[in-house]
Symmetry: C2
């Protein structure tokens, strides 16, 4: 059965960290790890490995750096089969600073990259594979890639990259089912030696359905976050994925529980989800940057003007 | 082009009325009508035609009855090509009380029915067609219908019903893309002389994507509501439909405008949208009744207990 091959990768703390400079408290991160472990989620992505030479620990919280010692504080004393994953951005990490797998609590390293940096990503990924980690490459902003360009990138990954999984990321939350079908059929035809994953954004309430559409066309690594937490519109909700899979290996109840206890209160401090400026950015295939700036301004509810500013269209009524 | 055949039916006031006993103020309903008219939406469903012999005007607002005189107050002085639609529930209306089309501001009458009442629905629908209205039948709770049963119902509608459109309604918000594909392929193969529509609920954030999936398989009448307003999890958002269609005949900006001015404030009074107990009801294919009762109680955030109460499963941790 298709479902047997599915792996669920919860990136609540990593993607959510983009909203608060990775400053989630140790208590909160442990609560999430405990819930994911009880639910038997396959992977928890906890943050970025970044170099402290490039980013200041004064400015960013611990999950921007993911020191092994900080990760150990999260997992200590919690019984778990959930593997820890971390993300790396090309050019923001010093590969030499990363310990080898056998000295680290981390199981998987994902390298996130735009298409233009694919060669650097392959190099970084291969280096991490050499250190003994499971590895993945996350191709961001695929909606902006020309079709032929993507073919070339996928062929290069298949041929030269040690990654176990290639993730396709709809960074702008702009893709509809038809594009997902097209992209995953293409990925499936180019990538034979690796698994394929999806990371979807929820600008247009399509993160969950696009994830299911990707599953219909061969994806088996599914990114999600608890209650859809994540920058701007957020991501595909973990609880909906478990509700769909109906796989007895997962238990949805600890996820429901941690939403009640931790995420409902958190929603009063952080804003994410279905918010019109993010929907507009999605439908226009724009980065959420401008929408985030709007939400931080006094014009935060001026949707029409925002739409007109992005499209440059101002028809008379 | 497929899109040219699409008709958008906004049922904000009708479906939203289920949340406040149809008591939206005349001012609010006019604002919605004005926005839909400026956006050039094809139909606005404004409420139910119900008999005052069966429901008390003390208890329910005007959009439970949709007197022609009340509808005239809504549309007066507003330039519009948007047609007015009303819904009827089998057994809740006195057909004799309904005026003929030529005396009424109403263009379309939709008869909503469960499968068990299909013969009554056909009779009522034909009576309304005889009065000169465009007509539709809305089949509720299709997720609960046995496959063979639905075949029979569709065949009967095709043969005996005057309706111009047959709507398929995912009342519990439980259907995934695959079921939508199956249902609409089936409907398309049985219904040759009429159009097919979809009414989707948003329990699992699938209302929009299921509407798009239905379009891929032949639906051309699309139900939606502004900002997804509607009972419990609400419906497919009108603004997302317009963003997808990118059809210059529609203008999304008046919709964005009315969301800013009217729906953001309204969200403080009425609760709808992605709320975990409604998601749970959707994933378990249950009517949202129990979830609505939970949200009215002191246990409103006890998601885990709610899930356990519906499934009867209580595994030890």
């Amino acid at each position: 059965m298709l479902k047997d091959k599915i792996k669920v990768l919860d990136c609540t703390i990593r993607d959510g960290g983009l909203m608060n400079d990775h400053k989630f408290s140790l208590r909160f991160v442990r609560e999430v790890y405990k819930a994911l472990s009880e639910a038997n989620i396959d992977y928890m992505e906890i943050g970025y490995k970044s170099s402290k030479k490039l980013f200041s620990p004064e400015e960013f919280g611990p999950w921007k750096f993911c020191a092994d010692s900080d990760i150990l504080k999260v997992i200590e004393g919690i019984s778990s089969k959930t593997k820890i994953a971390v993300m790396m951005d090309v050019d923001r990490v010093d590969a030499g600073e990363v310990s080898s797998k056998k000295e680290s609590p981390v199981s998987m390293i994902r390298v996130a990259t735009y298409i233009k940096d694919i060669d650097k990503a392959i190099e970084l990924c291969n280096e991490m594979a050499d250190k003994g980690y499971e590895t993945a490459v996350n191709i961001m902003a695929v909606s902006k890639a020309a079709d032929g360009q993507l073919n070339e990138v996928l062929a290069r990954l298949e041929k030269k990259c040690a990654a176990d999984v290639i993730f396709i990321s709809d960074s702008n939350g702009s893709l509809y089912q038809e594009s997902i079908e097209h992209l995953f059929k293409k990925a499936k035809s180019c990538i034979k030696s690796k698994k394929i994953g999806i990371h979807a954004h929820n600008n247009q309430q399509l993160a969950f359905s696009n994830t299911l559409e990707a599953v219909r066309h061969g994806a088996n690594f599914l990114d999600c976050t608890i209650y859809g937490l994540g920058r701007a519109a957020g991501n595909c909700p973990t609880e909906l994925i478990l509700g769909f899979l109906k796989d007895p290996k997962y238990d949805i109840r600890p996820i429901l529980d941690v939403i009640s206890r931790e995420f409902i209160p958190l929603r009063k401090e952080l804003e994410w989800g279905y918010i019109i400026p993010y929907a507009i950015a999605g439908m226009l295939d724009e980065h959420p940057r401008a929408a985030m700036a709007l939400r931080d301004s006094a014009q935060k509810e001026n949707y029409r003007e925002f739409y007109e500013s992005l499209t440059g269209v101002k028809k008379k009524n």
